[in-house]
Each structure stands twice: as structure tokens, then as C-alpha cells.
């Protein structure tokens, strides 16, 4: 059981079994907000993956080399959110300046990500224990966890966007039109995702 298997385990867990949106209830606001159109769902998803990967690595470093040595883990929340907010803003500005096309594609989703609890969520999860190894997350593991959770988020977001684009063509009853039907859709998606529970490739 090598390192790779552990990483794959983390990946499968983050994307399918403990999908951030559909089973952990993290990152719901953008999930419902930005899933109207497939194009924006894709852009948002990419941006989230990018920021989550970046944030995971930074926060892991800060946690391991500053907070833990000085035993001030309780500052986690403040420090992490500060780092994430600054990070997002930096990335946004850099993109806007140096790669307007990439900014058009990803950057416009960045402000939304600061307050996306998925980013802070994954940073905090990374400070806990890895449920596959039972040990604290290593740097690589935490980055993989961040990116994979982002992919899981994007996965759910894109599925939702596809269904919502189709729902536009349906005659949804007036009482449910709008967000209620989207919640029901999310519920049914979560129901289907229950099929992944207990998935284990390396027993």
C-alpha cells in the first residue's frame, strides 16, 4: 500500500464519497448561484480548483511551521481566512494585469471564492487527521485533498448546471419554480451519490 494508493483514496473520497457539496454541505452558495449556466459553472469550477490547491498548500505551510510550533492553533480561523482573502485578491489582480483572457475565464469568479466556505473548509480539514492513514495530512496529501475537493465541487457543479439547463425547458409547477426545484434536484443528486458510499478500492 504505497503512497499513491493513499492519494487515490483521498481523491476518490473527496470527489465521490464525501463530495463537498452533495454530502458535506460545504460551498452551497456558489453551487446554487453559479450553476445556472454550464459556461459559468465550468469557469467557477476551474477557479475553485486552482484556489483550493493554492490555499491548501499555503495554509498547510503556515499551520505546520508557524501555528503549531508556537501552539497557537486557535488562531487558525483568523490566519487562514486572512491568507485566503489576500491570496484570492492577489491572484485576481495578477490575472487581470497579466492574462486578461484567463481573467475573463476564471478571474471573475475569484471574489466569490473568498467567501466560499469550501476553501476555508478544506484548509481546516487539512489540519485534522487523514481518515485513510489516521495520521495528520502530509503536505502532498493536503494539496491533493484540496485539488480533489475542488474537482469534486466542480463535478457536482457541472452536473447541476447541465440538469438546470434542461430544467429551463420543463414546465415546473409555479410553487417550485426557481430555487425550490433546484434544491429538490440537489437532493435527488445526493440520493444518487449515496450509491458511492462505502466505495473502497483497496480493501
Amino acid at each position: 500500500m504505497g503512497n499513491i494508493a493513499g492519494l487515490i483514496g483521498i481523491s476518490i473520497g473527496a470527489v465521490l464519497i464525501n463530495n463537498f457539496v452533495l454530502s458535506r454541505f460545504i460551498g452551497l452558495c456558489p453551487f446554487f448561484g453559479v450553476s445556472k449556466k454550464l459556461s459559468s459553472a465550468t469557469g467557477m469550477g476551474m477557479a475553485v480548483i486552482f484556489v483550493m490547491g493554492l490555499a491548501s498548500s499555503f495554509t498547510w505551510l503556515i499551520n505546520s511551521f508557524i501555528l503549531q510550533p508556537y501552539h497557537v492553533e486557535y488562531l487558525q480561523t483568523i490566519v487562514f481566512i486572512l491568507v485566503i482573502a489576500a491570496l484570492v485578491q492577489l491572484v485576481e489582480m495578477a490575472l487581470q494585469k497579466y492574462s486578461p483572457s484567463l481573467y475573463e475565464a476564471l478571474g471573475i469568479y475569484l471574489p466569490l471564492i473568498t467567501t466560499n466556505c469550501a476553501v476555508l473548509g478544506v484548509a481546516i480539514i487539512n489540519t485534522g487527521l487523514n481518515q485513510f492513514t489516521g495520521a495528520p495530512f502530509t503536505f502532498i496529501e493536503s494539496v491533493v485533498n484540496g485539488i480533489m475537493s475542488g474537482i469534486g465541487f466542480m463535478f457536482a457543479l457541472i452536473l447541476m448546471a447541465g440538469i438546470r439547463e434542461k430544467l429551463e425547458l420543463a414546465d415546473v409547477p409555479e410553487l417550485l419554480d426557481g430555487l425550490p426545484i433546484v434544491f429538490i434536484t440537489a437532493g435527488l443528486m445526493a440520493l444518487a451519490f449515496l450509491g458511492f458510499s462505502g466505495l473502497n478500492f483497496f480493501s
Binding site: F32, V34, L82, M93, I108, P111
Partner: protein, 338 residues
């Protein structure tokens, strides 16, 4: 106690300096309107508007791609503030309203076939040009109703589109939507319009529509100002001229005109009248003003149509119009202004 303060302080300092330098170095010009809109938005970046974050919503609004009222958490307050920035509410020209130039519903206008298809005027017009005999009649399938953003148009039980004058803002969306091109804008102060768009000859029209214009030209004759002219068998009303069209509307034998004021105020002659009789020849309804020469004349309220033509003719200013209240005021002001 010191360590957390130092850590937070140092981290904040680094980040703050970094951001400060970055914002200088990486500055990009953006439309000031966007930042202005962004300021009034809640900036919760919740995404409920369907855009990825407040700034992209602000940009969409500034570029006209999103509605000013798109911010759900902001509610009407924010919507108004955004609209103010955009200057949407600022109206400059004379207020206009849409009117449908047809009143021939199922009772009045004959149909030649049964339309069996999508309930949409365009859809009907591409299938044998609709089921009405009249080629310019309202199809009554509600394409204009669907496009009206203010819910100001309804299909009457009789099957023609009717504009609600109170709700209409004169945006003109329905005009573009109508496949028969029988909706147009008139100044709100004028409450009268011709509700027919048929260019057929009178004899033909009579066969298939009881409220169709027969091109009898009585309305043209009833207006002295020349504000109505005949074009291709149909009167054309010129709203730029000083004319209230009340006499013309009353003269129409086929009842083609629509007067949005249900009860017109009537003329009244007060005691200043010296009985000169100067007003009598100007009254379009013979026998409305009666009286012996030298004595105070009276107005037959049953007959008076409230056109106001007699007002200016009285040398003693003894005639006034009153009776039906508020709607009259708007009409009179429009009439005076021309």
C-alpha cells in the same frame, strides 16, 4: 499573550504591504459606473444573482446585460439605487403609451377558418396568415402580452389585445412583437385613437367587421385642424397638431375610435353668458347649445360630447367644462399645450 499578537500582526502586515504594492503595480482601469454600482450592492458575493460575484453582476448591469433588480439579497432598495446610477428612471420625452389599432374581436370580426396550432400570433400568421378574414386585425393570441414587461396588455374576453393605460410605460416592446404591426405609441395625454388598421375598401370591410373603418372620411370632415388625413383608405391621426379628436371620434359611424376616458366632462354656460350665440355654430353636435339670442344659453348635457371647441369662442368666457374629474385635467392640459 505576545505570540498571537505578533503572529497576527506580522502576517497582516506582510499581506497588507503585499496587497498594497500589488494594487499599485497591477492597477487596471475599470468603468467607474461598475465600481459605483458595486458600492451600493451588498457585496456578499453570494452568487444568488446568477453571476459569479458582485463585481461581475455590477459589470453585467453596467453593460446592460442584467436587470438592475437582479440582486436578491439587496431587495428593492438596492435595485432602486442601482437604477439611479444607471439613470434608467430618468425620463426626458413626453410620456407615451401603446395602443392596439383593432377592436374587432370574435363578436365583431368574422373568422374564415379555425386556427389549430401554437397559441402565438407569429405562429398563426405563418399558417395561412391567421384565421381572421381581416388581414390587419388583432389575432388575439397574446404575443404582445408575453413580451410586455409590465403586464400592461391583456387579451379581452372578446379576443383582442387591450393595453392598460395605467400600467403601460411606452417601452415599445409590444410594437416590435406584433406580427401585424397594429400597435403604436400615442402621447399619454391623448386618450383617443383609431382602433382599426384595415386598408380595404369600405364595402368589403362591412362584410367581415362591424367595427372596421369604412373610410367614410366623416372623421376627417369633423376636424377643422387638418389633424386627420386619409391614407390608403384609413384615417391617420396626427397627434402633433392641436386637436383632441373628440368630435371625430363621435362622428365615426362604425365606432372605430376608442376613447380611454369613459365619461367626458360636459360644457357648462354660466351667468356671464350674454346670449351672443357665437358658440353655437362651432358645436359639432347640432342642437346641443340652445337659447334665444340675448338670453343665457344652455347646454344639453345629454348631447354634449365635451370636445371643448366652444370654450375659446365665447367672448365673455362664460363656458367651462367640468364634470368628470381627474382624467379631464390631463386631457385639458394636453389640449392646451397642444
Amino acid at each position: 499573550m505576545l505570540i498571537p499578537v505578533v503572529i497576527i500582526g506580522v502576517i497582516s502586515l506582510i499581506l497588507g504591504i503585499g496587497l498594497g504594492i500589488a494594487s499599485k503595480k497591477l492597477h487596471v482601469f475599470i468603468n467607474p459606473k461598475i465600481s459605483e454600482i458595486l458600492r451600493v450592492l451588498p457585496n456578499a458575493n453570494c452568487g444568488a444573482c446568477g453571476y459569479p460575484g458582485c463585481s461581475s453582476f455590477a459589470r453585467a448591469v453596467a453593460e446592460g446585460n442584467a436587470s438592475a433588480s437582479g440582486c436578491i439579497p439587496g431587495g428593492p432598495k438596492v435595485a432602486h439605487a442601482v437604477a439611479d446610477i444607471l439613470g434608467v428612471s430618468a425620463g426626458t420625452s413626453e410620456p407615451m403609451m401603446a395602443v392596439v389599432h383593432c377592436k374587432g374581436g370574435t363578436k365583431e370580426a368574422a373568422s374564415r377558418a379555425i386556427y389549430n396550432g401554437i397559441q402565438d400570433c407569429y405562429a398563426a400568421s405563418i399558417v395561412g396568415n391567421g384565421s381572421k378574414v381581416c388581414q390587419d386585425g388583432c389575432l388575439g393570441l397574446g404575443t404582445c402580452v408575453k413580451v410586455c414587461p409590465f403586464g400592461a396588455i391583456q387579451i379581452s374576453p372578446n379576443g383582442v389585445a387591450v393595453v392598460d393605460a395605467d400600467k403601460c410605460t411606452g417601452c415599445g416592446k409590444c410594437i416590435k412583437a406584433c406580427p401585424r404591426k397594429i400597435i403604436s405609441l400615442i402621447p399619454v395625454v391623448h386618450k383617443i385613437y383609431l382602433a382599426c388598421a384595415n386598408h380595404d375598401r369600405g364595402a368589403k370591410v362591412k362584410k367581415y367587421c362591424s367595427v372596421g373603418c369604412t373610410a367614410c372620411t366623416l372623421c376627417v370632415k369633423a376636424t377643422s385642424s387638418g389633424a386627420i388625413s386619409m391614407e390608403n383608405n384609413l384615417p391617420v391621426l396626427d397627434y402633433t397638431k392641436t386637436e383632441n379628436f373628440i368630435p371625430a371620434a363621435n362622428k365615426c359611424p362604425s365606432d372605430c375610435f376608442v376613447d380611454l376616458v369613459s365619461v367626458r366632462p360636459k360644457a357648462n354656460i354660466d351667468t356671464k353668458c350674454d346670449g351672443c350665440g357665437a358658440c353655437v355654430p362651432f358645436c359639432p353636435v347640432p342642437g346641443t347649445i340652445t337659447g334665444e339670442k340675448g338670453l343665457r344659453h344652455t347646454v344639453n348635457k345629454e348631447k354634449c360630447i365635451g370636445c371643448g371647441l366652444c370654450l375659446d369662442k365665447c367672448p365673455t368666457h362664460a363656458i367651462s367644462v367640468w364634470g368628470a374629474g381627474s382624467s379631464m385635467k390631463t386631457r385639458q392640459s394636453g389640449q392646451r399645450k397642444g
